[in-house]
């Protein structure tokens, strides 16, 4: 609209020209600023990645050799096993293509039903596609506070 207005009247003089340039700059800047404000407003805030240490279970509750499943606040599951030497918490998501692994008592290992991935109690991949790609089950850090176990999880909060 302002472009039309400019071209419609052939005003003369340097002063008129300066005024018109100032006008264009002013209106253009307004458009840019308002656009900028709207853009900043609409663009989502950065997700807050919160590292939290939360209660898992009393250490006495964790079975030896067998992975006990615990539901985590983000919906995932941690398979917690006392391997004899340490207590390990593993994600139950297979690193190959995301299927859920389960514990096979007979073999004493974690098995993925989709493509036959096999993992040791401590999460090391020993057979199937995960072993070929060298990807083990993801570990959660476990810490011991008194007689209880706490697990480190990462939560993503979208403000």
């Amino acid at each position: 609209m302002e472009a039309d207005a400019e071209r419609a009247v052939s005003g003369g003089g340097r002063r008129s020209f300066i005024v018109r340039v100032a006008l264009m700059v002013g209106l253009g800047s307004i458009a840019a600023s308002v656009g900028g404000i709207a853009a900043r407003y609409l663009y989502p805030l950065k997700a807050i990645r919160l590292k939290r240490r939360i209660f898992l279970a009393p250490a006495a509750d964790v079975p030896t050799g067998r992975g006990k499943a615990y539901r985590l606040p983000d919906g995932g599951t941690a398979l917690v096993t006392d391997t004899g030497t340490e207590i390990v918490a593993l994600s139950d998501v297979c690193p190959h293509l995301g299927c859920k692994v389960h514990y096979e008592g007979a073999q004493g290992r974690f098995v993925c039903p989709c493509h036959g991935g096999v993992f040791e109690k401590d999460g090391t991949a020993i057979a199937g596609p995960p072993a070929e790609e060298g990807k083990n089950l993801k570990r959660y850090a476990i810490s011991r506070v008194g007689q209880n176990l706490f697990i480190d999880i990462e939560e993503t909060i979208q403000p």
């Binding site: 018109r20 002013g26 307004i30 600023s33 939360i54 209660f55 209880n148």
Partner: protein, 468 residues
């Protein structure tokens, strides 16, 4: 208005508007975006508890939700779970739980604190069963006075309610019932069914278990108050207490780390001196770790390893006070306690000893007036005087303290002792030994010259009409 004039106005207005947008951007930049606290983490079992208890006991649920425990996923079941074999365990909605969460339960996570606490004098608070105080409360006043009075601070011994045949009474769901004279009770020395001693919730009130609350003097003041140990009143009178009250906002009470001189500098609380961390000491739940005197008994004495404990206390003082200041305080403090000992405590005790040795008192405690007089002297007035000086409360040292000690000693205890002595030579000797000592010589009489000096002072200071 010409077209060009209009153009100029539009251009000018545009820049004015742009300037206002700059202000908007500046305001936006200055805004502190306070993100809401992350959601509490509720385990599957505790979630089931909350389903009902959010309606039935909404304040418990709400207090827990806002607490630090909730952020860590330590919920209802994590604390209240109990082994089937535990005597007070019962089944509730499919799970074995217990009502009382004892220091042993808290200690499952808070191991060091629980251990320190079990070693402290606080955990022994209920261990005065054989004492005179116990007789006073349970027998002379009436058991329920002890139940709802003494034991509420000192702690009860939790027991089951019993049927007539001696078995544990159970309600219709099979839950074992606790004896109502022993529970509810959050006395600091409560003897729990699992053998542990204490109630963490005495200071860390449930279910928020707030750090900030536990650091405040009011929490200690529930019990450490009153005619026989007015620590909270003394603190409030002292400069420490004044500093605290007037600079409360700067105390940083909710901070996780609460190191004197680092996280806060405004004022000390009870916790500051007796428990909390300094740059050189970690926090301790053994409240006696920095105390050198015991001001409790008739005759005060230094505790075991008192030098080490005093150094620990001085380490706290040194954050605000210079070494000379601290040294002079302790010199004066020690001397005042020694004065109490030598001028009043030892003499009074010696008189009582004489009366007992001569069988002039019945074996029954508190059945004679002299016993009450002596009790008040050392258990109430004498303690007030000593504690007043220990925590820099001058009025408690003087008017609630030594003034009342003197009045009691000279015009209540000694006359009653004379009467109870009935002229017995040993008692009379003991009384004479007391009155002959230089501190009590004033009783023999003041000289007329000294009296005249006093009258002259009043005449000069307050006017002739004040002296008759």
């Amino acid at each position: 208005m010409t077209l060009d004039q209009k153009r100029m106005i539009v251009a000018a207005l545009s820049f004015l508007f742009l300037a206002s947008l700059l202000v908007v951007a500046w305001v936006e930049g200055g805004k502190e975006r306070i993100h809401p606290k992350p959601r509490p983490v509720v385990g599957a079992d505790s979630a089931k508890c909350l389903q009902c208890h959010e309606q039935k006991t909404p304040v418990i649920a709400a207090q827990w939700t806002d607490s630090r425990h909730a952020q860590l996923g330590v919920g209802c079941y994590e604390c209240h779970r109990a082994d089937e074999k535990e005597p007070d365990a019962f089944q509730h909605e499919g799970k074995w739980i217990a009502t009382i969460v004892s220091p042993a339960d808290c200690g499952a996570c808070h191991q060091d604190i629980a251990r320190e606490f079990q070693h402290s004098h606080h955990s022994q608070a209920a261990q005065f069963i054989g004492s005179l105080d116990n007789v006073l409360g349970e027998v002379i006043e009436g058991r329920l006075a002890a139940v709802n009075g003494c034991w509420q601070c000192h702690g009860s011994t939790v027991a089951f309610a019993k049927e007539k045949d001696g078995t544990v009474r159970k309600d219709k769901t099979g839950k074992p019932m606790l004896d109502p004279t022993t529970w509810p009770n959050t006395g600091i020395g409560r003897v729990n069914l699992d053998g542990s001693r204490g109630a963490c919730s005495a200071c860390h009130s449930r279910h928020a278990f707030s750090r900030a609350m536990a650091r405040q003097p009011e929490v200690c003041g529930k019990c450490h108050m009153g005619p026989d140990h007015p620590q909270i009143e003394i603190y409030e009178e002292s400069k420490h207490g004044i500093a605290f009250r007037t600079r409360l906002a700067e105390m940083n009470l909710s901070s996780e780390s609460w190191v004197l001189g680092v996280d806060y500098t405004a004022a000390p609380t009870c916790a500051t001196c007796h428990m909390s961390a300094t740059r050189n000491q970690p926090v301790t739940h053994d409240v006696g770790a920095r105390i050198s005197w015991t001001l409790r008994p008739v005759i005060s004495r230094k505790l075991d390893e008192w030098e080490k404990k005093r150094e620990a206390m001085k380490d706290v003082c040194a954050n605000c006070h210079a070494p000379d200041f601290i040294a002079a305080f302790y010199t004066s403090f020690d001397a005042t306690v020694e004065m109490w000992n030598s001028k009043f405590a030892v003499p009074a005790q010696s008189v009582m000893d004489a009366l007992r040795a001569r069988h002039l008192l019945t074996p029954t405690p508190f059945d004679e007036e002299i016993e009450w007089s002596f009790y008040r002297l050392w258990h109430h007035e004498g303690r007030r005087a000593r504690m007043g000086v220990s925590m820099q409360g001058p009025d408690y040292t003087q008017w609630h303290g030594f003034f009342e000690v003197a009045e009691r000693f000279y015009f209540d205890f000694l006359p009653k002792a004379r009467e109870a002595g009935r002229g017995d030579p040993q008692v009379t000797r003991a009384l004479k030994a007391v009155l002959d000592s230089p501190e009590h010589a004033w009783l023999k009489g003041m000289s007329p010259e000294d009296r005249a000096k006093i009258d002259a002072f009043y005449r000069e200071r307050y006017g002739a009409e004040t002296v008759k």
